[in-house]
Amino acid sequence: MSHIGNYDDARKNFTWEISEKELGYVPGAVINIGEYCTDRICRMGKADKLALIWEGHDGHVKKYTFNDMRQLTNTIAAFLKSNGIGDGERVCLFMDKVPELYFGFLGVLKLGAIAQPLFSAFGADSLLTRLEDAGTSVVITQKKHLAKVRTIVPQLPTLKLIVVVDDDGVKPLREKEVAFHMDEAERVDSFDIFPSLAETPSVLHYTSGTTGKPKGAQHVHYSLISQYITAKYVLDLHDDDIYWCTADPGWVTGTSYGIIGPWANGVTQCVTDTGFKAESWYRFLETMKITVWYSAPTAIRSLMKEGIDVVKKFDLSALRHLCSVGEPLNAEAVLWSQEAFGRMFHDTFWQTETGSMMITNFPGMPIKPGSMGKPFPGITAGVVDLSTFEEITTPGLVGLIAIRPGWPSMFRTYWKNEATYQNKFKNGWYLCGDRASIDEDGYYWFVGRDDDVINTAGHLVGPFEIESALLEHPAVAESAAVGKPDPVNMEVVKVFIALKPGIEANKMLELDIMNFVRKKLSALAMPQDIEFVASLPRTRSGKIMRRVLRAKEWGEDIGDISTLEND
């Protein structure tokens, strides 16, 4: 029996108080996510239960109980405190998927500091933009990423401390750098956990927009109320489940459902720090006897490419529930998963700003392959007109996905950017920036983004960041970055480049530009396709018309081009 039971009944009877009561939270009382995920679970009698089974890329396995996790998160919090770090300071976690990342996140929250996880594949420029904006005090990182951090230290006056979790003493650490070895450190059994309240800032996740620099979506400790109950109802986590979330905690899925949701439910989760390879993933599912799997359409489509025969080589009979997030899950992938695993992936829709699932397919509810599903109980959602923001009630008509504000995990602002935050709300709705329609049965159907942001493999990449980076390349005069359709990643970055006079386009230059962007920003932002052009389409006021270029890539109508200058 699923936790949610009948969807319609759950929707009728649901209030957020259900989650508060299950968690033992009383409004106005202290609520600290770090405490709820560790100490509280131990008090529930699960101290010796496994919290994390971690496998490194070399096959090395580490196991931690909830009591281990309680002590280790205390140890990290105490270490930071002893180094003068206090509540409210931003602590960046810049690591691969190692145990220190997961426990560091909760340790930072126990301290009362704000956790700022960043994807470890980010290049120095991407890192600088986000640390500078946040006024970050601490970066916790690994030896292998230290070089990137060191190059930007002089530009970060607020940075007090760089913690290296795997320093081997071979090369001397520099000023501000300190070694910390979690597994060998003397464990702290008792730590004075910061008495955070519902609205105390907890996590800062950066997300990209069409224009300007990435924005820090700021969350609060009360987000736990949403993350706990959505993990329970949508992922259907039960006490005996073995759960695997493939997302990296550098992104919101990796924290909301790779840390907070499962551990607030006291569930054992597995993590592998290996890159994507179909057989490796199937072997991991088999070996760990994963029962609930939360992954992404890009990964599922990559598995599809390898074929059904590969799946059949493994015993995946433990799997009982599959969910997906990051980008729309196409109907073919849903149907393929039924054939491959004997059950369908359940698509879930939400975003960095919402902090938890908004529109999803629920266990027990009939799935319409390709649909996003229905709103979570407690969430009032709709689609609204693109210009009036009035709710659309006619089935099938496309509008903007909109959510009535007030759910517990809603972001509270964009860090130091309240104006942009306020602009996300129209006519009493929070606008997600995506277009969809609702059918006669209340199922949502994704149509596309409402802006120029590129969704590649479930990660949002801002065209402005790419174009700004390209301007620093010696051969580039100007550029425009757009999303290009891709059968696996949904979209990949394509750039149109006008070269400086006298410079000739060739394959070596193309490769050089790709690597230039990859190193400055990240592999996600690296153009997978480069088209050299004489000039870019502009409005008469000089603004580059990305939508014209994007429409051509997608084979869509380019719409009104009356303002186009150089058509």
Binding site: H57, A147, G275, K507, E510, M514, N515, M526
Partner: protein, 84 residues
């Protein structure tokens, strides 16, 4: 020592390892599953091979397995008549 393997290895070390990353990378080191080269960066590795050896590698052949070590890449290049 194979000149081809050495050229690919040098490229991988220069392009995909951070300056302070002192991991030993050999012809056998897993590149994809160890995370040295991620699935997105594989595209630039493919372009490097195509540009350097004047070949065109179809997407169907550019799999994580085919790119997972310098040795595997050498086997792939052999299919295109590029020998060590």
């Amino acid at each position: 020592m194979s000149a081809l393997k050495e050229a690919v290895l040098t490229y991988v070390k220069n392009e995909y390892l951070e300056a302070d990353d002192d991991r030993e990378v050999t012809y056998d080191t897993p590149l994809i599953s160890s995370g040295i080269v991620d699935s997105f960066s594989m595209v630039s590795l493919k372009v490097f091979l195509e540009t350097t050896y004047s070949i065109s590698i179809p997407d169907a052949k550019a799999t994580p397995e085919a790119f997972d070590s310098v040795n595997n890449i050498a086997v792939l290049l052999k299919e295109f008549g590029i020998n060590e």
